[in-house]
């Protein structure tokens, strides 16, 4: 009895095709592209030293427009890059300007504050870059000292 039952079960299994087949088959290819916006600095830290003046005038500005570059990539529309410092009460003035810009429009020289300000605008589905031109200035009345800024660039949606 047991042997006959096994034989019937096996025959049914073999008679049923294991796979559906024909001259054509297909599979899907799914590509997921997430929203990506990236900004990066190349060049490292900068030191600006104000150490000269014309008699009768405030000290000469110190500038650096060659050390650092900013690069960005976004696959989103209507983006911009803002800039801010973490130093709430600096002794001296520090400004930065995007020059030689590709993939966006410079917002001109920005006097750094802790409030994020537009730095490069008009960025949409593109890569881009610019040179970072820093200018440090001081008045004679500011005295001497050292400010240390951590400058942050952020790519974000334009409002």
């Amino acid at each position: 009895m047991w042997k006959k039952l096994c034989a019937v079960v096996l025959a049914v299994h073999v008679a049923c095709p294991v796979v559906l087949a024909g001259p054509t088959d297909s599979h899907t290819v799914t590509v997921t592209v997430t929203a990506i916006s990236e900004v990066g600095i190349t060049g490292g830290n900068i030191t600006l030293t104000i150490d000269s003046a014309t008699p009768g005038s405030d000290p000469d500005d110190a500038t650096d427009a060659t050390t650092c570059d900013l690069d960005w990539t976004t696959n989103e529309s209507s983006q911009k890059i803002t800039v801010a410092t973490d130093l709430a009460s600096p002794n001296f003035t520090l400004s930065v300007e995007a020059i030689n810009v590709t993939g966006g429009t410079s917002a001109g020289a920005v006097t750094l504050s802790t409030t994020a300000q537009d730095f490069v605008t008009g960025i949409s589905t593109t890569t881009g870059s610019c040179d970072l031109s820093y200018t440090a200035s001081a008045n004679a009345s500011d005295g001497t000292g050292t400010d240390v800024h951590t400058v942050t660039y952020t790519i974000t949606a334009s409002t």
Partner: protein
Amino acid sequence: MGKWLLSAALALGAAASPAAGIDITLLGSWAARVDIEDPATGRWDRRDGTHESAVDEVVLAIFNSSGPGDAWRLDVRRVDTHWPESLTLWIRCSDPGLGPGSVDGGSLYQEVTPQDTPLCSGRGDRSVICIQLRLTGTSPEVSPSHYLSSVVYTVVDES
């Protein structure tokens, strides 16, 4: 182990199916994500413009031929559901598989278009034919989305 189970399953199915011409069946699909997560920062960074599947992302079996000398041709085409023009899908046979027959050609990447294009040719039954896919054309200009296409494989009896 998985490949041997497929080979056994397809052999059993071939024996059970009625003899109605060369058939093809496949396992697998490909999901490509156009970014990677930096484990250190948790940020998602865009990968470069080329993405490649595993060498055995899709596995094919061609069976029900009339014998080791029965010639066939394998055509491939793309059927798009949502696919940007800038993305290009490439395909190749990364492994000719197993069986009494043979597989010729197809080892170099070729573009998968919406028109049937020969990928490779062969003779007789073959199983575990490995397919590898490649995606090019990803760039910031490709908007964030889920893109979907199907790759259709058609085996054409050339005897």
